[in-house]
């Protein structure tokens, strides 16, 4: 294959990865920004989203697109509800202590993973994409569903931006992120905001899970990769910075895609880990992060 199409395929693969990563990392970043909680169970919310999509697809008969649409709606809601409950029962009682919440979310990770193993089983199960059409380029074929994932990510990221910047709920979240105590003094129910944000972050992860499952299959161990990559993205982008997250996701997605196609996937992983190290050394707050006040 000539260099041109080679690079084209690499870019497509990178963009798909960046798209999924954007949504997942946005959830992680939102939770950290507002609550200062490092949610280690975030990857499991992606997995739960995918598993619920499988349940939806197998319970809803008819065209696969119907099951997929149902999953897009119910999956974030259910996962959000689980996260909401987790926040009320665990994180709130720990007073959002940074160290304690890390340990608590590790516990949550195992509880979610093992519950899915018991209920859903150890198999990887496929979910049909809502439509199946292969785009034939002269050099290779490419699944049109993957392009749909990129488009969906752009829409979702636009929606997140709109909510955060243009609505009252977004204003409250930003206020709580900017200064928790002052926000409370101005009558913002910071405590309730935390719960809603945690649920929303998990809902975003679940949405990413639903989008990715027709490409990947639902499996109880699938949460590890998204968690690691989301952390990488959030650290590079700057914890709590939404625009940083988007830029970092595209950067990591594209570099991962291009390096793994042109060289090897192992090298790609090494480069992104190296990037994290460099960022931590030279810009400890990330590319777009602000210094801790």
């Amino acid at each position: 294959m000539a260099l041109g199409p080679y690079l084209f395929l690499a870019t497509l693969e990178g963009l798909v990865q960046a798209a999924v990563l954007c949504i997942t990392a946005a959830g992680l970043s939102l939770v950290f920004g507002v609550m200062r909680v490092v949610n280690v169970a975030h990857g499991e919310f992606v997995m739960l989203g995918a598993v619920i999509a499988w349940f939806a697809a197998s319970l809803v008969t008819g065209h696969p697109a119907i099951g997929f649409a149902v999953a897009l709606v119910i999956s974030p809601v259910i996962v959000g509800a689980i996260a909401f409950a987790g926040e009320r029962l665990i994180l709130k009682r720990l007073d959002y202590n940074p160290e304690a919440t890390i340990v608590a979310t590790i516990g949550l990770l195992y509880i979610l993973q093992q519950t899915v193993l018991i209920v859903y089983g150890p198999d990887a199960r496929p979910v049909d994409p809502p439509f199946y059409y292969t785009i034939r380029f002269p050099w290779f074929g490419y699944s049109s569903y993957k392009l749909f994932v990129i488009a969906a990510a752009i829409v979702i990221m636009g929606a997140i931006w709109f909510v955060l910047q243009k609505t009252r709920a977004g204003l409250i979240m930003r206020a709580a992120q900017f200064d928790r105590e002052t926000a409370q003094a101005f009558g913002i129910p910071v405590d309730r905001v935390s719960a809603v944000v945690f649920a929303a972050g998990a809902g975003l992860a679940a949405l990413a899970g639903v989008l990715v499952v027709p490409i990947q299959q639902a499996h109880y161990l699938m949460g590890a990769d998204p968690l690691l990559l989301s952390f990488i993205v959030v650290i590079i982008g700057g914890l709590g910075s939404m625009s940083g997250t988007v830029v970092a996701a595209i950067l990591i997605g594209l570099s991962d895609g291009i390096l793994s196609v042109m060289f090897s996937p192992t090298l790609a992983k090494m480069v992104s880990t190296l990037l994290v190290a460099l960022v931590l050394v030279f810009r400890p707050n990330g590319l777009f992060g602000k210094a801790e006040r």
């Binding site: 294959m1 080679y6 395929l9 690499a10 693969e13 990865q17 598993v51 619920i52 349940f55 197998s58 259910i78 509800a81 409950a85 029962l89 509880i111 093992q114 519950t115 193993l117 018991i118 209920v119 859903y120 089983g121 150890p122 198999d123 990887a124 199960r125 496929p126 199946y132 292969t134 034939r136 290779f140 074929g141 490419y142 699944s143 490409i215 990947q216 299959q217 499996h219 161990l221 699938m222 990769d225 895609g257 793994s260 196609v261 996937p265 192992t266």
Partner: protein, 429 residues
């Protein structure tokens, strides 16, 4: 994939706790109760099974097959008049856990032998420990570790041919029928390396060459990025993938290649447990697969195959009789069945009564040579090499026709025999 009306995702906390608590109790009980209640006067066999982890789809069927085999053997009167007691432990398809399970079988359950370990990375870790514990250890893994002289006197593979013999026996057919320029796609660990090394040598002997070698990490979930490495001169793509992402691999290969594809020769491992009727797998029509044991009942089906399918609960399409969507790992799981009956045969040769006779069992195993096709050995006749502890059988090459696999070539046992210096009988007992 199965739809079970009982498996709803728990929504309420209470339901979730109940499910988790109940399951924890169930999971904990065998470990707590069994050693105390083990019956005396039975033959105790331990089966380390990949119930969870990346080998889970194999593990589920290995467990069913082992239980069916033990049931049949007990109905035949057990071994030397003793009933067989099967003890199953999950090893999570994890080398470390696999080794711990071997220790548990030896010290806690005090089993007479262990059988059924599959994934080669787990076997490579667990076999040395079994040897140190002097615990007869029967693997069903295809790995060529035994023939390479890397294992020990207590480790045997009497149920399935190893990768080296498999590829050696099929390389002539691939070179003559499909093409001589081959690109290999394989998992990047022991099992995949066996394929790479032995097939490269075998196709060279046919005047062919391997033009591309694409190693994929076993936990990989996305594959399109690897396919540009397939050289344009490729005449045959040879794929052998395992793990939860196999279906993704084959789908993405189909997307990528389209209709102008080279010949494809795959090991059924890439699609074990996967339904061929999946619409996106249509591009496999006309491609070829290795099968140790044909998943779809062939026109000349033997009475032994009928018996085996009935006892394990598999229909003529290789799916569970209870759920047509639950596809078996048919081409591998026969090995745990056949292994049980080899253990039975060896124990009867040694007039085995209890664990003091483990050494006699090893010596009896080494005396076995020919194995006839029978209900106990439905995959076919085999030759067991007592020196290398490895068995040799026939291989099948099947073509995908109308979404089913039809056997087009069956190798002879002799096609796969190879020379090696390994001789475990010289090691101390």
């Amino acid at each position: 994939m199965h739809r079970d009306s009982k498996t709803f995702l728990p929504l309420s906390r209470r339901h979730l706790l109940k499910t988790a608590g109940g399951a924890a109790a169930v999971l904990a009980s065998p470990a707590v109760l069994r050693p105390g209640f083990a019956q005396s006067g039975t033959i105790k066999l331990g089966a380390p099974i990949h119930r969870t982890g990346i080998g889970a789809s194999y593990g589920r069927w290995y467990e069913r097959t082992a239980m069916a085999a033990v049931k049949v053997a007990n109905e035949m009167g057990g071994i030397n008049g003793r009933q067989i007691e099967l003890i199953v432990e999950d090893d999570g398809t994890d080398p470390k856990r696999g080794t711990e399970v071997i220790e548990k079988f030896a010290s806690q359950y005090k089993v007479d032998a262990v059988f059924g370990h599959l994934f080669s990375n787990v076997v490579a870790a667990a076999a040395p420990r079994a040897g140190e514990l002097k615990l007869p250890y029967f693997i069903c893994s295809e790995a060529s570790l035994l023939g390479a002289g890397k294992l020990n006197r207590y480790t045997f593979q009497p149920g399935i041919t190893d990768v080296r013999a498999q590829v050696t026996s099929m390389a002539p057919w691939i070179g003559d029928t499909l093409g001589k320029k081959v690109t290999m796609i394989y998992p990047d660990y022991n099992f995949g390396h066996d394929h790479r090394d032995f097939f490269t040598a075998a196709i060279k002997a046919q005047g062919g060459e391997v033009v591309g070698k694409i190693a994929v990490p076993p936990t990989e979930t996305s594959f399109t990025r690897y396919f540009p490495q397939i050289p344009p001169s490729t005449e045959v793509i040879y794929h052998v993938m395992v793990g939860p992402a196999v279906l993704t691999f084959v789908k993405e290969l189909g997307d990528y290649l389209g209709s102008k594809r080279p010949e494809i020769f795959g090991f059924i491992d890439s699609l074990e447990g996967v339904d061929f009727a999946t619409p996106q797998l249509g591009f496999l029509e006309g491609s070829y697969f290795w099968e140790a044991y044909p998943r779809y009942a062939q026109v000349n089906q033997s009475e032994f195959d009928k018996f085996f399918r009935e006892k394990v609960g598999v229909d003529a399409n290789g799916a569970s009789v209870k759920d047509g969507k639950d596809i078996s790992t048919y081409s591998h799981m026969f090995s745990i069945w056949e292994t049980l009956f080899v253990i039975k045969q060896a124990m009867e040769l040694a007039n085995y009564k209890g664990e003091a006779q483990k050494k006699d069992l090893v010596v009896a195993m080494e005396s076995i040579s020919t194995i006839a096709e029978s209900r106990e050995h439905p995959q076919g006749a085999k030759l067991f090499n007592g020196k290398t502890h490895q068995v040799f059988g026939s291989q099948n090459i099947s073509k995908v026709e109308g979404g089913k696999l039809k056997v087009v070539h069956r190798t002879s046992i002799e096609d796969g025999l190879y020379d090696t210096d390994a001789d475990y009988t010289k090691l101390a007992l």
